[in-house]
Symmetry: D2
Subunit: 352 residues, 4 copies
């Protein structure tokens, strides 16, 4: 392990999101993957030999040769773990790590609804990590759990934050067209989605209507108040590999007299200062596309951490319509949790 780097483990490292963690952590300047965990079937085997790798880059060599460990704090003793556990396992396993003193940066949704657990986007609400103190106090943990939001909530919350700061946001109609990688592996059967649209994703509309309100909310007296924003959400699965597209109609509290300000507000959006110079900081936070037919998932996810916004135009019913494209397995999953961990190092919650 390189000197000064934080040794980290990836929990459930053989799955689709686990693989993205491994890929994105290769050569990370602050973190070194020293352990990976997996299911009973793979424990004891070399990662590279049991993992059905799905990404178009090869498995990093050092990780290839790691022995897969069981997902428990007795086997994994790193100060930080990235969790790609499925929700039902995360509910049980992540608290064991937190109790053992480990910082858990997780993509799982098991604790997103917990009042003392922030859903964290460094571009949006770095101050919400203050809830960690209450979390520790309540649970009696030395470590803590910090989830990133659902992949669909991610891009829209970043775009809405820019609008909220400038004009206030009252109501939002949203329709998502979500990539198949969002369902993991094996995930969506090809017979369901090839040349087709599936206008339903279990529990997605609920999550994508609630999580943004939590992230856009405020901590008052140590307690997080949800933002008072109304959401109407339609979730669809589409035959796209990576990249969630969401079209939005937004009602603002104080719409600007000059509509041009809306686009400029989005393109000029800056993260809170503390989040601006971390290794995974997107540059820019929001890429404004001005072509008539962008953003598109195939063309606008190459800057993995950046949120692409386009077709910003006035609306007949509310104030504006726009399209948001975000990389669902980078910004919306593994990359998001890594960025969160960087912020938590910067804030002193994780020791280097």
């Amino acid at each position: 392990m390189s000197q000064n780097k934080v040794p980290v483990a990836v929990l459930a490292a053989t799955g689709a999101v686990g693989q993205r963690f491994i890929q994105l952590l290769e050569n990370h300047p602050w973190f070194d993957v020293v352990a990976v965990t997996g299911s009973t079937r793979s424990v004891g085997h070399k990662y590279g030999e049991v993992c059905r790798w799905l990404l178009p880059t090869d498995i990093p060599e050092n990780v290839y040769n790691l022995k897969v460990l069981p997902s428990n704090p007795e086997s994994v003793e790193t100060p930080l773990v990235f969790s790609a556990l499925p929700k039902s396992e995360a509910k049980i396993i992540e608290p064991l790590f937190a109790k053992a003193g480990t910082a858990v940066c997780t993509n799982a949704g098991a604790f997103r609804e917990d009042p003392n657990t922030p859903i964290l986007l460094p571009e949006v609400n770095p101050e919400h990590t203050a809830l960690i103190h209450a979390q520790r106090a309540e649970k009696g943990w030395d470590g803590f759990i910090v989830p990133n939001p659902n992949c669909t909530s991610t891009g829209i919350t970043i775009a809405l934050k820019a609008l909220q700061n400038a004009f206030g946001v009252k109501r939002v109609f949203a329709t998502s067209m979500q990539a198949i990688s969002g369902a993991g592996y094996p995930g969506v059967p090809s017979l369901n989605i090839l040349g087709n649209i599936v206008p339903y994703i279990a529990n997605e509309e609920e999550k994508a209507s609630w999580e943004p309100r939590k992230m856009l909310g405020e901590i008052n007296d140590g307690q997080l108040d949800l933002a008072d924003i109304g959401f109407s959400f339609h979730a669809n699965r589409v035959p796209v590999i990576d990249g969630h597209t969401v079209v939005l109609t937004v009602e603002l509290a104080d719409p600007p007299a000059d509509f041009g300000l809306v686009a400029r507000t989005l393109s000029d959006y800056q993260s809170p200062t503390i989040s601006r110079k971390l290794p995974s900081t997107p540059k820019p936070v929001i890429r404004l596309r001005t072509e008539s037919d962008r953003p598109q998932p195939r063309l606008d996810i190459t800057e993995g951490m950046t949120t692409s916004v386009g077709r910003v135009r006035p609306d007949n019913l509310f104030d504006l319509r726009m399209v948001v494209v975000s990389h669902n397995t980078i910004r919306g999953a593994a990359g998001g949790s890594i960025y969160n961990a960087e912020l938590l190092v910067e804030q002193g919650f994780i020791k280097q």
Copy 2:
């Protein structure tokens, strides 16, 4: 030609919509295709030899051998023509036919905005054909022009009509996911759409926000008043062959106390009496899908003329959300114009 059948011609018969006309008119009980027209390049040749046929059934034999004619009333003398002309040509050529006494049932949008031209859906507004009298008077035509709506307007107008009759419709937020066949042939380059979403279709949002208001409007004192419905529309192109999917959030004027009435109102919808027993009448008008993940374009367009509706559920902001799937080149184009012609025969505008 069979006795008693109306001899008809298809204008621009070699294009994608023209081919659907040819396919759907094979063995039609009331109409016989006796002439086809095409561009200068194909005039004089056998239809079957110059047409790059794209449908998975073969060219009907009698049409295969028809000589392609130029698109003008001197060459084509049938009492009824179905027009698949592109808009710019339709603007010039369709009036020539109408002036010559021909009934023009058209898929082109050239005259949809004309105040004396109805946009016709037999399930919705058969009484709007009364405008034909004013059209003839104003233009001095013996024939007339009756367009079907844009393919995207079609399905949603039928579903909204059912709601309008029962509860009144005030505002609609809609997002379409439209099949590539809607763009004709060669149409959308595969490099643009394979594994991708294009969140823009030129002029589509304007059409799909205005045409339903015209079809759902009322004739008062011989003049059509647009329905007072507000629309916010997002149009997207998706990698689907046939079948437009539209997700809708709807605000009703008088929402029912019992939400279950909404779904029943949709599934029980009956066309106006005059439209119920024509050869192309959909049975049912609206197919209500009750599965959690339907309708889907790949599964729910086989009843070509029927409109599929599903995921009818309450909404956080307005009154209800639902998903509408409609076959864009059958119900939304050629099949729609044929159904219109049948209604016009029934109403006596076209003589058998």
Copy 3:
């Protein structure tokens, strides 16, 4: 049940192939589906309520309401069953039915390699059913088992039979591009195949190299001799819903002096007389496409039982190259087994 029809059951009726059996048997003139079987999970429930139906037509109403039975001859007493069982279960369950006196027409491959079991294509080898006598004698069965070939073997064997009859076939290079429906449901994960080619299908090359030799072989002294044809086979999975495409280079024993004879031999091919007038008889057996770019799976599988052949042209190394497209879940699976059952009725092996 209609008078005179044979009551039949479909084993493993809820899977992808089982559903095709149900669909194709609706309104069959000779057979009536009176029973369906399924896994423990679904036994006792209504078929329509436990089956995740994947086809774009609805479940036939009478089958919708059938109670799912366990797959054993105690529960299912029809004289004929169609089996869509997976291979491992077929190996155990199908003999139980055969022993109980049932005719088993199966899509499973469990007994294809058995010397006394014919692999049956009515267009190719109806005389191979003579093996049934030996099968019964050897096993002590009153019933019997007759499988259709693997979906990939089907189309190429029919095309090769036409060539074999006329010119003899010596060697064949073949490359398949196989539809995802060939892998059943859930089958191929969309992440594997969307916008991709997978150049491998487990065991497929072995089957598609051996089965045609068996079907093209001869029975001598009551024993089936494999045809002496050499095969080099590459199997690929491609992002196509239905329809297997196979490109072939063929070496003939006696190539015709006039190459035009090759195409004519294919298009004029007639099944053995006994197979020509059955309900599922393809008309024609082989559809010869003469366009430069056909057959294509999306356009050339609508005549479900017909085999499409095109691009018949001379070869640099062997005698000819051609392309074969066949509907893998109709001609190559359920439809094939139904056609087999019809032949077996005609031959008196199944009593009406």
Copy 4:
């Protein structure tokens, strides 16, 4: 322009291949794009404003602002041009440049059949550039024209070269499954290829059967003798964005006793020494995949210049079967021509 770099122009820079040249030449250590040419429609405009950019990375800033020039040597005075011209234009325009003293590295096929023009792959036949002397002498040119092969010929020729060197190659049966980007833009209409296979690409089988023989041939007495290899080729278009897959069955002259040598020969293949340390040199030349289901275009084209080979296995008829995947617009087009230019600099044909 950076000191020491060769100023270059890209002809037909706005098309699909032209864009790849622009993308790959960004930050090239030896070449600087100082001029771009295009059609009459775009001449005089800024490249970034008239180019419908299709790649998922943005237009390099310096090229964005270049004025598009007409494609003639009066307007473009760089010592080296990369040509993405269509064949018909290349036939006329490229000789004008060669006559004017310009080195033309072209992706166009206009002169591939010319006896004094090498088709160049640095991994395969760098010594064939000796033909340039004869080309210049014959045509009276100061410059010269050097094409890269057709995208489909590229990968298979590299793999066959490795086998030819070790064992000799006698006969090859090949089936390609080619990406849509190989047809340029707009290229293949989506209605033709979505969920479909098109078993035909105009002229492709002829090119892919002949070009490898030229590249694998030898110069004797200043004249290029084609390699004596027999080809049977089937070309198919498949719904894949980038990456041509070719399955091959190969007959060797001297097959090794130990079949394992075949795979090792492929994975250990080294380019001729002069081609090994150029900026675009693939590392490795051939990536041997040992997984059962690789190479796949979606996973195995990220190392753009490397040729991926897998499923190396014995064959029933010839000696071996294998699968080759190659990036058709990088290794097989723009990247190939750039690598050629680097070799020509190294060989002294282009002066730095």
